[in-house]
Homo-oligomer: 403 residues x 2
């Protein structure tokens, strides 16, 4: 019996909030017997539960520090560890003023939007792209400009025209958002040549690159490509990485490195967002790392997921119709299937009847339109046996739909 | 050598970011020998380090759950505990759909502003008020309307005129923000009569009340007053509380209860902010509570701070000039001193020379102007001996200034 007129109370953002399409679909994945290729969850079977449990000794040994308010830019020992550990990927040991620890990489997008976006300002995103980032950007009234992706990642040659068109229309393009390695959802990796070109284009137009790399460590084939950050001499790349996929997402500990002035602004925004990332969680992650688990346990995670990736590729080749196309990802969590002539929204309901779930293509498009013949299939969460059975069920669902 | 024109890149918020006045002052508190009454930090000497360390068994026992992504609205066992434990304060056992766990109470203000505030919308805050909330609201382009405080808290009789004036000017007043118990910085508590009146006024005008109560459990004298939430039959009160002051701020675990529709919107905003609060931190807090520490340890914290509150009152009475006025707070963390004829900004520099620090009054005013003769003094962080010596030094600094 509220006397509040909620319609009048909500902001434009508040009034427009809708459950994310992925969250909506996820409710089906909880049904008994469902095999889920839908969520982007790590496999709890490969969580380093014992090792992480051992790290909890730091809560006693350094309890007064771990339980107190922490510095907004992060727990200093953790920042030092990351700077040293990431040096080969970053091209150098980054300075502490260049790094902020965030409450998941999700928060990095939130902080960046507050610092850079006035309502209506533009950002360039890949199409398809990660729906969580779309959601955050919507919270901040971002106007989306989209750049297509192919098997070598973002088609960076399309950028100059996109930027110039926007500028002619009086729009400000604030940053280019790219998921460089084992793209979510497209599974592709930005080629070395395109990384160079992207940096060149961003430099020419004076636009920030947000290089999002939550999956970079999870490479199952081939060699790591240099980060765009490591090629940048101008401070125009903000690089974000996370412990979510290489340790555990329940920590909500991630970090970003970039230009000192930008990082200082992001830290100031963060003061008004959550003061600091959980010091308890940061201390645990630090101690886990300090005990050498990145060297000893991360390879186990990579090997575990590499086998699942292979299992899903084999299962799709074995069960799915010959016209279904996909690129076997060299790392990460996802296959991105193209099913000619199949509307994956319709397929979804046939699939959940057959007890297998995925995410439909349009969820990865800012406009909600596009990718109608695509679906994302996560290979990390289901067991190897489930992967084969799930692919079989998916093939049945496709047959059901084609009647 | 960045080719980015940062001035052009930043948003209105980003360009206007300044370090918070408290953070700026805090650097002085790190100087050797400094006695700090400045920050609002709990005393690490009373952190339940051993008890919290014991709770870490949950990271092994329920590791697969604690390390995975969690529900955006919070870790269900923790929510259940809070609902039961808080029932006497809330007037009933709140439903799970009425509660969201947040990454500190600071995040509650951030989520609320995203859901309710379009740039330029108004919120009513007490003057003085908590600078962290001012900072968050600035991140969201809130227009501040201010209501004075006296020894009974917010002068709620002033609200109708404030609201009507704003509405006549075409402004939307989205919520009334009040720190009900042992106000930060004013130390005062909103009287029962004013709680009823505030609810009445908010109901009449159809405006949400944000009842922020991080200190409510820390009462050293007298009986708890009913929460405004518990008097509300219309769903117009959002009540926020936190583990920061009753367990440890390093957890960054807090919660809020309110109208189901509002909570659902806040949860959707949170999906784009940090997905969920650290499940690791929530699981630890839950296990700490489950083991009975709220019953056994919280009274120790309350007794510890009660003694410090008494020590600071005695020290101020003993050392400070007779014309310095303050209300002895019945709980919480802070004394709010009035020093007739003394500009506390000038006093601050004399004080740090004498090796004692506090926060100057204007830091608690949204406009940065007001409270020039006031200062906030935190009694929880310094030791009892430091409190006496700090008060002595403060008296010296006042004498230095008066020359």
């Amino acid at each position: 019996m509220s006397k509040i007129d909620w319609k009048d109370l909500y902001s434009t953002v508040g009034a427009g909030l809708k459950p994310s399409p992925i969250r909506e679909l996820m409710k089906y994945t909880k049904e008994p017997g469902m095999i889920s290729f839908a969520g982007g969850n790590p496999d709890p079977e490969i969580f380093p539960v014992a090792e992480f449990g051992q790290a909890s000794q730091i809560l006693t040994e350094r309890g007064k520090e771990a339980l107190q308010y922490g510095a907004t830019d992060g727990f200093a020992p953790l920042k030092d560890f990351i700077a040293q550990w990431m040096a080969p990927r970053m091209g150098r040991v980054t300075a502490t003023e260049e790094m902020v620890v965030t409450t998941g990489s999700q928060q990095m997008m939130d902080l960046l939007c507050t610092a850079l976006i006035d309502p209506g300002d533009c950002a360039i995103v890949e199409e398809p792209t990660y729906p969580g980032s779309i959601h955050t950007m919507r919270n901040h009234h971002v106007t989306f400009l989209t750049c297509p992706c192919d098997e070598d990642g973002m088609v960076v040659d399309a950028l100059p025209e996109i930027i110039e068109k926007a500028r002619k229309a009086g729009q400000k393009v604030k940053f280019i958002y790219t998921i460089v390695n084992f793209h979510n959802p497209a599974g592709v990796t930005l080629s070395l040549e395109r990384r160079r070109k992207l940096l060149d284009i961003a430099s020419r137009y004076g636009i920030l690159i947000f290089e999002d790399d939550p999956y970079g460590h999870l490479r199952y084939d081939g060699d790591h490509l240099p980060t765009i950050f490591s090629m940048d001499n101008e401070g125009i790349v903000l690089f974000a990485c996370s412990f979510s996929k290489i340790l555990a997402p329940g920590t909500r500990v991630a970090w970003a490195v970039g230009d000192k002035d930008l990082i200082r602004s992001l830290v100031m925004v963060k003061q008004g967002v959550d003061l600091c990332t959980s010091v308890v969680a940061q201390a645990l992650v630090y101690e886990y790392c300090r005990q050498g688990n990145m060297e000893s346990f991360l390879p186990k995670i990579v090997a575990h997921y590499g086998k699942k990736r292979d299992a899903m590729a084999q299962a799709f080749e074995k069960h799915l119709p010959a016209d279904v196309r996909f690129v076997k990802p060299a790392g990460g969590f996802f296959f991105w299937l193209n099913l000619p002539g199949v509307d994956t929204k319709e397929l979804f309901f046939k699939a959940v009847e057959r007890k297998v779930a995925f995410v439909t293509g349009p969820a990865f498009y800012p406009s909600g339109s596009g990718g109608e013949n695509n679906l994302r299939s996560c290979f990390t969460f289901a067991s190897t046996e489930q992967i084969d059975e799930g692919a079989r069920r998916l093939a049945q669902a496709i047959a059901d739909l084609k009647g």
